[in-house]
Symmetry: C2
């Protein structure tokens, strides 16, 4: 007997028929003697419709109240699954954030889970119930409803799995696992059977979109075994687990491509202490998060400063940059929206040199010019023109030997 | 400065435009220095759509989970109104049932409010907020979400008004008050300016549908002044208040007509002790509530027994009646669905005789045959064939002098 937390995403609960399919799967685990906690997202499209409704009400919906509105999406699917399970003769019970004891901080719209008091769920399991939890939501210390941001149900599931010391946290989604790269771009992309938390973290951040970043951080921190798999098949998916020694033999595990960034360059910025702060403080105050930052030295006490932001924040970031450039007496501000960030990721990089040069050579062989470079311990990212994105991904996939069956 | 609880029904919050109108009204009260608690229903039609969704999931939705689903309707409107008020620069805060401290019993689908802990709302008012409460919902002692039944938001509003000792509980609806009878049937129907709780209770029970019955019971019990008025005009509506001596000068305040009942007669039931219990116990066990019960004596130790149930329960009640009749060795079972119950209601009846005879004569003058009669201290009801319903209402309206302007 195992304790399984199963999370089903929006496409898996998109309509009553699919929720019935979820019930089948849940039932199967329960029937074989497992304890099951189900965590659900809203039906696909519902969260977006609710946001549209809020924006119809007011252009700048209050974040606290938006969370109250959005939380109805998961409340709906949780109630529906619980009633379907009950109508089939199973003991089942829905739990909203406040009932599941999911306590968060007060950051409406992207709250962080502070702790989970799983007592109610624990009790329900002991009584033989299937616990059906509305994902994505919690309450802050004043009892206000909060939501955890896009993909937050992943984090709900991992956090509950951690708190219950579950044997596995299964993330059911519309793909059958984590791939070496996006199969829509590269048809030789392969499913990865096992991946480390660290690699998954880089993959998630860089746009693989299979798991919410914070859910992976959480899984890593509390050592929760996560199984990413398809809700439409019985196939094994990808296990996200602790780094093991054999993993390092694979130099590069995956290639990601993020089309959602834009670049801003401030030319001829005075090369003095405190200048960076003058640029990035107003961005931070506007809640714009900056991804890459690159500074090139120039002669004459001046420097060029380039950074990237998400396309959503681009217009606001541009405005602030013009203002700051003027104040600093800097030169012109250059911007580019049609860029892509391609990255190679792998634990093995730590112990192998030459990954960067392989990457640069591969891109050069296709005459793809690299505009920006940034690196972490297990990742190298290059910004290139967007039009080369797909070509770059396929080229790198081949260059790092990912096309071959393992 | 007054403390006002304002309740807006489904048609008053049917879309964003109307919720904006609600915000206008709320703002007006707040701007003139009043403290305002707003209680909202779901957008009109939403509760029905949610029920349809549940029935699509399973033919017999579990009641606990149905409540979880239905509660999303009021959650949505409360969030929307709060964000609209905030976007206009007002301090506002939404409260769901569990946040508003509305504690109910465990009867899913038609829970009763046990007590209200208004501390959070009180605090919000003290901090200068407009409190926006999701009506219709509460939580039971185990923290499960419950709903209060059709029209339950009225009861939420009255209960909160009582708990906060509000100066008035305003029920905003799509009609401009309580009428002497249904204006759609009788175009000389008049708005009633003041009505006693007792009369309103009879009017509500008998199908006036302006206020949930339990909200009137609550108002009566705790002496909450209720003002039923239109959300689309500034006109004064109907004040529902304690009985006062001048009210008795009006003999009949209103005429109601309930088309929603059906009649069942068991012929030749043995006239012995315990027989009634044998008939009504299985009905009660099937949660069928019986309205009128009439028993006529017959010769030879047998009696005819007639009762009425709502049309919704008719088929099930009929089935049970056939079974019981057989067990008791009773005669045939007669049923009639096309019936109407017309009633005259008035505090003045208590001190005036002759109301019944006026009623019977008026109906007789139009050749309307009376099938059943029942009475309370301030009401006389007659069951007639449904096809005479409108004629009966108009005839009684004239007979009791309600056509004249007061």
């Amino acid at each position: 007997m195992a304790l399984r937390v199963q999370k089903y995403g929006g496409t898996s609960v998109a309509d009553i028929k699919r929720i019935n399919n979820v019930a089948d799967r849940v039932r199967k685990a329960y029937d074989q003697g497992d304890e099951v906690v189900v965590v659900l997202s809203a039906m696909s499209g519902v969260t977006d419709s609710l946001i549209a409704l809020a924006e119809q009400a007011t252009k700048t919906p209050d974040k606290r109240e938006l969370d109250v509105l959005l939380a109805t999406g998961e409340q709906t699917t949780a109630a529906l699954l619980a009633m379907i399970l009950k109508s089939r003769g199973y003991k089942a019970k829905s739990f909203l954030g406040f009932q599941a004891g999911i306590h968060t901080d007060k950051t409406s719209g992207k709250a962080r889970i502070m702790n989970i008091d799983c007592q109610n769920i624990q009790q329900a399991l002991e009584d033989g119930h299937i616990a059906v939890v509305a994902g994505f939501q919690g309450t802050d210390k004043d009892g206000a409803i909060t939501t955890l941001g896009r993909g937050g149900s992943d984090t709900s599931a991992v956090a509950i799995a951690s708190s219950l010391k579950a044997d596995v946290c299964e993330i059911f989604t519309d793909v059958d696992g984590v791939y070496t790269t996006d199969p829509r771009i590269c048809n030789s992309a392969k499913k990865i059977n096992r991946i480390s938390y660290e690699e998954m973290l880089e993959m998630a951040i860089l746009g693989a979109r299979v798991l919410q970043t914070r859910s992976v951080e959480f899984a890593k921190k509390y050592n929760v075994p996560v199984h990413v798999r398809s809700s439409f098949s019985e196939e094994e998916g990808t296990m996200v687990v602790n780094e093991s020694s054999d993993m390092e033999s694979v130099i590069v595990s995956g290639i990601t491509c993020d089309m959602n960034e834009a670049r801003i360059t401030l030319k001829r910025v005075p090369d003095q202490p405190g200048v960076s702060a003058k640029i990035f403080t107003p961005l931070a105050e506007a809640e714009i998060s900056v991804d890459m930052i690159i500074q090139n030295t120039r002669s004459g006490g001046e420097t060029d400063l380039t950074f990237t932001v998400t396309k959503d924040d681009f217009e606001r970031a541009k405005e602030i940059s013009y203002k700051v450039a003027k104040e600093l007496g800097a030169g012109e501000v250059l911007t580019a929206k049609e860029i892509a960030k391609v990255s190679v990721i792998g634990l093995g990089m730590k112990s192998h040199s030459g990954v960067a040069s392989t990457m640069f050579q591969a891109l050069a062989s296709e005459n793809i010019n690299i505009r920006l470079i940034s690196t972490s311990e297990i990742r190298i990212s290059c910004v290139i023109l967007a039009k080369y994105a797909e070509l770059a991904v396929r080229t790198l996939h081949t260059a790092f030997g990912l096309d071959q069956e393992k």
